[in-house]
């Protein structure tokens, strides 16, 4: 259910960015990074996004979600490992607890793709 709140935050952030743009570009894609060790379910987020952006400036804009895996670092073994979410988090080699998370907690708007008339940046044609 909190995907609804996450989507509100997403829309508000993109709206702030859009308002700051002088030429009001046509946004084509929003790229989101969601870690596997968060409480966010990408399918629910995608659904909430589609419902909440209807009849807004983001209607029809594609939401691209990239999931990042849970990667922990074991200080005793000095190596990274991938904990089995729901089953085991301790280091598979030495059994030390999961003390440092290196990936999997991300929940961010990475970048926005948009069409612009401005020729300032080099980019492929739309």
């Amino acid at each position: 259910m909190h995907e609804t709140d996450m989507t509100k935050a997403l829309i508000r952030t993109v709206a702030d960015w859009y308002d700051a743009q002088l030429d009001k570009p046509q946004i084509s894609k929003i790229h989101l990074v969601v870690g596997q060790f968060t409480c966010v379910e990408p399918v629910s987020l995608q659904f909430a996004y589609e419902v909440q952006t209807r009849d807004t400036f983001l209607a029809g804009v594609e939401l691209v979600i990239r999931e990042t895996p849970l990667i922990a670092f074991c200080h005793a073994c000095q190596q990274e490992y991938a904990p089995a979410i729901g089953l085991r988090y301790a280091c598979p080699d030495c059994g030390s607890p999961m003390a440092e998370i290196r990936s999997g907690r991300e929940l961010k708007i990475d970048h926005i793709e948009y069409c612009s008339d401005s020729a300032q940046a080099y980019a492929p044609n739309c």
Partner: protein, 232 residues
């Protein structure tokens, strides 16, 4: 000519909530008040734990409660019987408290009590092991409850909650004789995720373990109290 352009944002989705939580914490810090965010699944015993805590500590600490519930004020009414300020926040259809809701609660607290004299604000979150784990409200410590009737595997299934807890209370231990539950296994499962948390097995009914919990609370409050400045 139209061109596709990329704009890098790199903004966390929880950025606005985090800012709100930091703002709330600054309020608490200015008052010299400690704030706990008390979280668990529905029915793990948050409200009865708060009842016992208020009864035991209200004569030595100035306490207040911000009570989050989806629709009713039943829990808030239970706690009001203790004669301390209780602010009820109905979250409506939202399954967790967020920083903005708690900011509203802080504002109400300022209206109804001398906030400067408070020692501890207990925020009772909505019963839910998922969402509250992601939304900070401005707390200094996260308290998670896990009742023995829920099973040993819950820390593995709801890892974000148990990984972020500063104190885990394993509740309803008076029921252990009637269950097939292994406390050691709960301990082991939590430790895989969270080597630092203080783990205290308690029973609000029998009183077992509560003295240790109260000591933990006292210690947390003492850490953050402003030094008393003498006017003489």
């Amino acid at each position: 000519m139209h061109q596709t352009v990329d704009a890098a944002l790199g903004i966390n989705l929880l950025h606005a909530n985090q800012e709100g939580a930091d703002h709330n914490r600054a309020h608490f810090d200015a008052w010299g008040v400690t704030c706990f965010n008390v979280m668990s699944s529905p029915g793990a015993g948050k409200t009865v734990l708060l009842e016992r805590t208020l009864t035991a500590l209200k004569d030595e600490l100035n306490l207040a409660v911000i009570e989050g519930d989806m629709t009713t004020e039943l829990d808030a009414d239970r706690l009001r019987k203790q004669g301390i300020p209780v602010i009820a926040i109905n979250t409506g259809r939202s399954c967790h408290l967020d920083a903005q809701m708690v900011a509203g609660g802080i504002h109400q607290l300022e209206q109804c009590t001398d906030s400067q004299s408070l020692d501890l604000v207990l925020v009772e979150n909505v019963g839910n092991l998922v969402c509250p784990a992601e939304f900070e409200v401005g707390e200094h410590a996260k308290i998670a409850l896990l009742s023995v009737t829920e099973g040993e595997d819950k820390p593995l299934k709801y890892p974000v909650m148990f990984q972020s807890a500063d104190c885990l209370l394993v509740t309803k231990i008076d029921l252990i004789p009637y269950l097939e539950i292994n406390l050691e296994q709960i301990h082991y499962n939590v430790r895989q995720l969270n080597p630092q948390a203080t783990i205290i097995p308690v029973s609000a009914r029998s009183g077992a373990g509560l003295a240790q919990w109260f000591d933990w609370v006292r210690q947390q409050v003492a850490q953050r109290q402003r030094p008393v400045v003498s006017s003489h």
